[in-house]
Amino acid sequence: MKREVVKFIIFAALVMLAPLPLKQSYLLNVLVFVGINTLLAVALNLLLGFAGQISLGHAAFFGMGAYLSGILTANFGLNPWLIIVLAAVTVGGLAFVLGFPILKLKGHYLAMATLGFGIIFYIVFNETIGLTGGPSGLPGIPNLAIGSLTFDNDLKNYYLIWGVTLLTILLCVNLAHSRIGRALRAIHDSEVAARVMGVNVRLLKVQIFALSAAISAVAGSLYAHTMTFISPTSFGFNFSVELVTMVIIGGLGSIYGSFLGAALLTLLPELLRAFRDYDIIAYGALLVFMTIFMPGGLVRGIPDLMLFLWSRLTGKRGGNAQTG
């Protein structure tokens, strides 16, 4: 447990110091999105990495949070902070109810069902033009504010979003090292044995699905208030797949892995600008390469790679070094 505390403090310190050399650059803006995506990836990891249940519809929960916040603050002028809490509770509650029938399914069938509701909500965002503005989007969402402090630039938003993300990471790390975390990983490995040990598998899956959805909704609310404009394209099937990719690339069941995955997938399109029109090929090739050579994700792949290189450099045949 001590090691987890040290890890978190180092991570939090790096996150807090990162903007200092960046000032108001474009990179800072990208890092704000890394924060939101990390929050989403950590939420999905609870479900996918720990409990081993896939969701191809998480962008819908993200979208619901964004639209609830957007509509109720831009059109009805309600208190944004209150709405964030309301969005988390509503979306979490909805996921809880949806979860009972959906999480009975396993494997491909679960993927299909979550894909289905993801698409349904995407259509709802597009078609309920009176509420969401439809495909042309919903403008005029206010920035969040505490008293006279308005979160209206990248630096302020960076600290706001990373504050929430760090808090969530801390809570998820705690959860991972508790009886609940162990029970979730137990479900992943052997559902029948987990049941025999007295884990209420069905209820726990639904609870973690709801928690994951609630965190995603908070990410959506923060996204809406940061962007001040949202449109359905941000909450489609592609983004759901991207979230799953972040979690897998980062490392299933690793909270900090989710950060690495989110960071890579957010920064990569920026870095691949050099390839111009071929960026999507480079992107695809990298993902294929990573899944083949780093099946444990970045979080295990990077140390393995470094050990391997080190043993090559020093000319020693490293006993434990693997290319992973």
């Binding site: 009886r179 052997s190 025999v196 040990m197 007295g198």
Partner: protein, 249 residues
Amino acid sequence: MLRLADVTMTFGGLTALQDFSMTARRGEITGIIGPNGAGKTTLFNIVSGIYTQTTGKVFLEERDISGMPPERLASLGMVRTFQNIELFGQLTVLENVMVGRHTRSNSGIFACAFKLPNHLREERQIREQALKWLEFAGIADLCQVTAANLPFGKGRLLEIARALALEPRLLLMDEPAAGLNSRETLELALLIKRIRDIGVTVVLVEHDMELVMDVCDAIVVLNLGCKLATGTPRQIQENPAVIAAYLGE
């Protein structure tokens, strides 16, 4: 402790168990034996809540537990092991046994995430108890090993330690000696007797006759879904119907 009354189980047209009744007495080791396909595993899956019988009832200390799911049975103090050991492969040995304390702890998601004081106290107890049961099974030295990397024999012991961590009243063991070498089987026999001696009622299905005759206080013989005989190991060994079923007439 455990009583089955006229349990019948059919899969489509196949009758796996026919009007089967038996009793396992408290504090004893009861063995269930029978040729392959006799219905032993079906019986176990019914008692442990994985299948629901077609007709008949199952009682745990006179409480009707027919059709209860495994997680309810666990909280009533009944636990089982599996023929092809079912470990949590990605968890360490210690963590596996800590999952066994699930019914003996109750911190929710909120308490765990916010590290409330109750949860921290509970977590310490879970760890202590888990270590205690690992020592009981003689594998405490392996506690940091990932379960998937254990050799088969140690995996079996881990599964037993994990089941005991639940502090069950009744332990069901499905072919505990399957896949073990003769030395490991001897150690297993001692362990099963020690489990009885701490007051846990044991019911086991087993093919290894030497083990069954050595450890069991009572034996039930199944053949073709029906009860063939019951009695002490000596009575069973001398029972002509049992000899006929095993050796053929």
